[in-house]
């Protein structure tokens, strides 16, 4: 039998974990901000790709999922800041020192404009074969990335590659602005629902194309519907207006043989049962500052929902070695019986010292092999 590629080993490992079985070791991956990457390359390995260097398991790639297929149109570009229009119709200001962009304007300015907002073809080859701005994920820097296809091609033998799409609320606020979108859900539910349905079809087509063209076995749904205190809007509204969309995405992706990870910041635990019913296999990122604890969640949803994340970045940024060790080893309890991909509780930003991240990886390598032996950090699950 031919030897398995690293990607095949990782795919098997992650799928086993997502099926609530114990693989050889606990899968690990993360999302890194570009300014962290720069620090890391300077300190650790100037020419290395961090996923390669630490042999991480999953790599998530996003094609151009914007409503309009266009490269960012620069209105202003200087050393300190840049202002540009995106394929979402929004105008973004990005300052070199500010880690996140500021939205100056949105493509849709009132609920009446939903119906006339145009989407370009979700199957347009440029979405998959042209260089990408990746508005959703570039974080603290403006970057032009190689195309989706080129990225998948380059890494397909090394990592378990996941595609991704947006869940409709994430897509809705990017078109309309958070405040406008939230008020529209209550004041103009019909117009907003019609637009949500169009967004869902758009994302569904893009997701299916990724899976089919590139034979992917996993799809991440970027969806943000909560903040640290709970849902942005009523769970009743979510169930009525968004549950059918998430279910449709899960059903189709599953039908094509892909597992589904839902990425949702903040504390959306009130809808976890609904997400399970919709078909979500795994939940990311479980922010500690939103009161989420993967070990406690594991006890509640054991065998029904897998988890990905929950290592407190505040501890990675400022904690002592002992604190990092306690955080990592205690959270590894959630990996008992599978069902856990270890990662930070959102992403690794520039305030995390590279050696602290490296220490986390070392701990996972040392203690993350099955059967888990967590010593003084062991807890009953």
């Amino acid at each position: 039998m031919p030897e398995k590629s690293r990607a095949e080993i990782k795919t098997e490992r992650v799928l086993k974990a997502l099926n609530h079985e114990e693989p050889d070791r606990v899968p690990i991956t993360d999302f890194f901000w570009s300014l962290f990457m720069k620090n890391w390359q300077k300190d650790k390995a100037p020419d290395d790709f961090i996923y390669e260097h630490y042999d991480l398991d999953l790599l998530v790639v996003t094609p151009n999922i914007d409503p309009r297929v266009m490269r960012s149109r620069f209105i202003e570009r200087s050393e300190e800041q840049m202002v540009y229009e995106t394929g979402w119709g929004s105008v973004i200001k990005r300052r070199t020192e500010a880690p996140m962009p500021m939205f100056l304007e949105f493509g849709i300015k009132s609920a009446e404009e939903y119906a006339s907002f145009q989407f370009d073809d979700p199957l347009d080859p440029r979405r998959y074969y042209d260089e990408r701005d990746d508005i959703i994920n570039t974080g603290d820097d403006y970057m032009v990335l190689p195309s989706f296809a080129e990225t998948v091609e380059r890494y397909k033998n090394d990592f378990f590659i996941w595609g991704s799409v947006c869940e409709p609320f994430e897509a809705l606020w990017r078109c309309r602005g958070t405040e406008g979108a939230l008020m529209d859900l209550v004041l103009y539910p019909e117009e907003t629902q019609a637009f949500i349905d169009r967004l869902t079809e758009h994302m569904l087509a893009i997701g299916k194309r990724q899976i089919e063209m590139f034979n992917l076995k996993g799809m991440v749904i970027w969806g943000d519907v909560a903040y640290d205190k709970g849902m942005f809007f009523s769970p009743v509204t979510w169930r009525k207006m968004f549950f059918p969309a998430v279910k449709k995405l899960c059903d189709e992706f599953h039908r094509l043989g892909a597992k589904v990870i839902y990425h949702g910041c903040g504390n959306a635990s009130v809808i976890y049962d609904d997400l399970i019913e919709a078909g979500i296999d795994c939940y990311n990122p479980l922010e500690v500052k939103a009161g989420l604890d993967v070990v406690e969640l594991k006890r509640v949803y054991k065998g029904r929902l897998a988890y990905f994340g929950n290592i407190d970045v505040r501890i990675l940024a400022e904690g002592s070695r002992e604190e990092i060790k306690r955080e990592v080893l205690r959270k590894l309890n959630a990996a008992k019986g599978g069902g856990y991909i270890i990662a930070s509780d959102h992403s690794v930003a520039a305030n995390v010292p590279p050696e602290n991240y490296e220490y986390m990886v070392q701990l996972v390598r040392e203690y993350g092999g099955y059967p888990l032996k967590l010593g003084e950090y062991d807890e009953e699950i």
Binding site: M102, M231, A349
Partner: protein, 213 residues
Amino acid sequence: MPILEEISAALQVGNGKKVKELVQNALDSGMDVNDVLIQGLIAGMDVIGGKFRNNEVYVPEVLIAARAMHMGMDILKPLLSASGVEPVGKVVMGTTKGDLHDIGKNLVGMMMEGAGLEIIDLGVDVAADKFVAATQEHKPDILAISALLTTTMPGMKNVIEGLAEAGIRDQVKVIVGGAPVTQKFAREIGADGYADDAASAAEMAKNFCLAAQ
């Protein structure tokens, strides 16, 4: 239903047009402008704030109620200043340098306005020296600083140090909040208060102002 309760009820469901109409009716019938403010608009926002804290209503309902409040305030503001009614206190607010998120800060601003405080909003991505300059200029009772990111949160400490350097630290109460901020962090950087949510921030600011009077 008495008209002031009607104003409060219309505000709670976000019916700005009705709030405006009722506020005008109340004034036309000879009611005191301050009573309309306190027992109508502020009372309504107080109910919304409590429900928001208990997860009985969510961000959209607060945004809609605040918009209705502003429609009522547009009528009351000129009359309040003409009659010499002073707000409960003055708040200068903004997000830290590098932090461009403003929904949380805006919610706090709405709740504070709803508690009868005057708000001077410096917006997002505010450098420490700007907070200090605005404190010198506006002489607020409260300086409220927000951060969403762990990477921008340390900017709060710079503001407090800046106030100390300018010799005005004791002239203003500094309250901080935002997802990554904790009571412990607030204490470590020498803030006067930490609020866990928008309604608590408004209550805390109001209490600081009342205690000083």
